[in-house]
Symmetry: D2
Amino acid sequence: MSTNTIRYYEEQQCSNQWRSFLGAFSAEFASKGELSDLRAFMHQLGRTMARGFHVADGSSLQALEACMNQVWSEMNWGWVELVEEADALVVAHHASPLKIAFGEHSLDWSPALLEGVYAQWFDGLGMDKSLRLVQRAGVFEEGQLFVFDLKKQSEEPSYFTRR
Amino acid sequence: MSTNTIRYYEEQQCSNQWRSFLGAFSAEFASKGELSDLRAFMHQLGRTMARGFHVADGSSLQALEACMNQVWSEMNWGWVELVEEADALVVAHHASPLKIAFGEHSLDWSPALLEGVYAQWFDGLGMDKSLRLVQRAGVFEEGQLFVFDLKKQSEEPSYFTRR
Amino acid sequence: MSTNTIRYYEEQQCSNQWRSFLGAFSAEFASKGELSDLRAFMHQLGRTMARGFHVADGSSLQALEACMNQVWSEMNWGWVELVEEADALVVAHHASPLKIAFGEHSLDWSPALLEGVYAQWFDGLGMDKSLRLVQRAGVFEEGQLFVFDLKKQSEEPSYFTRR
Amino acid sequence: MSTNTIRYYEEQQCSNQWRSFLGAFSAEFASKGELSDLRAFMHQLGRTMARGFHVADGSSLQALEACMNQVWSEMNWGWVELVEEADALVVAHHASPLKIAFGEHSLDWSPALLEGVYAQWFDGLGMDKSLRLVQRAGVFEEGQLFVFDLKKQSEEPSYFTRR
């Protein structure tokens, strides 16, 4: 699969109706605040978005993943993999439209939107209060993959400190 | 044509990909500021959006209208009529997705986005500096029509004072 | 609501991805057969389409209507009203994309697609074998409304005789 | 880029509005004729489609490719590369929605649609009558790439003989 085809699909995925608005929003928004404020606002938007969807089947990791992917597929926001690791539940979100919608320069803050969505969904499922969902630093697969770890909150602040 | 069909088309027009995000944005955003600030921010976003499109044929009112409708049609943002009246050029924007995207409660501030777009386009065409584009107060056709007047700036402040 | 806005919504509803193909199909297809053959083929396609959807809640007319509208809404094919009359169950399908997809000249045969879908769904629900779904002759609301009657098969042939 | 992401994009590319219809069409259509007839009909549809688009800038290979990609991008039908080889002009069409729309079983006949489109476009540009566009046999990149050669018609019949 050529890189051109990937780029073609990425470009086409983002709805033409809102691309111009979202690009303008990104430019205005990013010029106005600190990185931590941008992330906090996007995280909050994500939590508000999450409440509008019914993600309630936590009977198994597979059921939960399927439930989330139902939401993402209907919105064409990509797909998620939930992977259990020794000390964390890893949430790997692929093929989201964030990079195209908000621009490459937004990759530091726009994924906080997904962080907020997942955090809210896990809260809604009655997640242990000592756990916290935090985005893993770094850009993976050229902004086509965002990784979040749900784990015991460490003492040290995360790379993306917020609030 | 039944009201149900109009409602059906309105609902379907707004891209499913961003509807949840835009609704969350609207809720967070509207809770944060004064009406005049909300309008000023939307107006600014509109100006930024406008710069991304090529609306340059001001050879006639019809040519300009066609040029604008080319942009709106590709984005599925409705359509515009430009009408010359005695003391103003009237810009009537029909069938925009704003009401569904940002919600009915947003009808006081979300149309400032269109105001910003048109203001920027007229500026780009070298509009007389004494003219100003101002949204006409009131909700027309249940939020399916927004009307803007381009005319000499009056002494009295507009209903929607901004900046 | 102006006629222009209705026309705008109608045009935009039909997916740009397949509009050219469907227009070409309509032109080639219509040139090849008798009206009754065209209707029979579309009816058959409709039955095949119907089998791909789960329309199974016949517990009440409202439940059935909601179930069908769930399918239509996800596909953006308009909406249906089921109305009980003295001697028939009337199926009124509004705001389908058929006229734009297949052209105005297709209005004699393209709605047989919907006839096939509904006929299959009623069959799947165990409809009385003496009943038959037949499209009511005539163009309603400029091709935005198609009406089908589910009733005892009459002796006389329908306007649109098929098979 | 994982295979899952490619599959995700492929699935999402095909418009939900017509996918069910096109799948039903494919099933009915394929059951009715010989492979050569299916290809001839699709080729003819492609020629009819092509006439609806303005592809007229043959000033250079790059200009022509850009002109074609403008059409394909607006329809979300993928993208094309034109490559000059010793004895042929190679037309490589990537990322079309044909496989998802018509199904994997259609890969023998559905690409004749693209063959018809390109053949018509080259004819419209005044292509030398001794040249002929023929699809190269074989499935490339799992049905994501179709290759056509524009070259002097050979004596031997092509793999996909038609008419």
